[in-house]
C-alpha cells in the first residue's frame, strides 16, 4: 500500500506536465490561464498524495486548503481584469461607429 501511493504521486507529477503545453502554446491569454488552473488542480491532488506518503496528512491538508483558496482568488482576479478589458474595448468600438 505504501508503494502504491509513491507510484501514484509519480504518475500525477507526470500528468501535471500535460497542461503545461497549453500554458506555453495557448493561442489566447484565456487558454493560458485555463491551463494554469488545470495545473493547480492536479497539484492539489499531488500534495494530498505526498502527505499520505510522508504520513503527515493532517499537515498537508491545511496546505492544500490554503493552495485552493489562493488559486481561486488568483483566477478570479485575472478574470475580472480581462472582463474589464473586454468592456473597455467594446466601448471604444461603439464610439468609432
Amino acid at each position: 500500500m505504501g508503494n502504491y501511493f509513491i507510484y501514484l504521486s509519480v504518475v500525477l507529477s507526470i500528468i501535471i506536465f500535460v497542461p503545461l503545453y497549453r500554458v506555453l502554446a495557448g493561442p489566447t491569454i484565456c487558454d493560458r490561464i485555463l491551463g494554469a488552473g488545470a495545473i493547480a488542480t492536479k497539484t492539489m491532488v499531488l500534495i494530498l498524495v505526498i502527505g499520505l506518503v510522508f504520513n503527515r496528512l493532517d499537515m498537508f491538508i491545511d496546505i492544500t486548503l490554503a493552495y485552493a483558496v489562493l488559486n481561486f482568488i488568483g483566477t478570479i482576479a485575472i478574470a475580472k481584469y480581462l472582463d474589464i478589458l473586454g468592456f473597455k474595448k467594446e466601448k471604444r468600438g461603439y464610439k468609432k461607429k
Partner: protein
Amino acid sequence: MTTDFENPIVSLVSRVLSPFIMLFALYVIFHGHYSPGGGFQGGTMLAAAILLVRLSSGSEVAQLQLKRGVGTILGSFGVLIYFGTGFLCLLLGGKFLDYELLARILPVSKVMAHNWGILFVEIGVGIAVMGLLVAIYDDLLEGDPDA
C-alpha cells in the same frame, strides 16, 4: 458603475466563502505551533478573504467590510503589538522577546507564558500583514473608476 461588471455567480459565491476563508486564516494563526503556518501565512489568508470581496463586489461596496484608511492603521497597530510584547520582556528584565518573563505579570506558569507570548506575537504579525496588504491594494486602485 460596478453593476456593469457584476457577475452574480462570482459575487455571491465569494460572499458566501469569505467568512469561511477568514475563519481558516484565524485557525492558521492560532494553531501556528501544531501545523504549518503562523502569523504571516494567516495574515495573508485574511487579506485574501478581504480582497476576494473587494474584487467581486467592487471597491465601493467592500468599504462596508473594511474602510479604506483602516489598513495602514491596522498595520501599525500589529507592529505595535509585536514590539510591545518584545519591549515588555525587556522592561521585565530579560532579553527582547524573552517570553518566559511574562509569567511575572500573567497569572500562568512559565511554559504557558511562553505559549501566550508566541500567540501575542503571531496575532500582531497577522494583523500587520493583513492591514498592509489591503492598504497596498487600495492605494494601487486609488482614483480608478472601474475598481
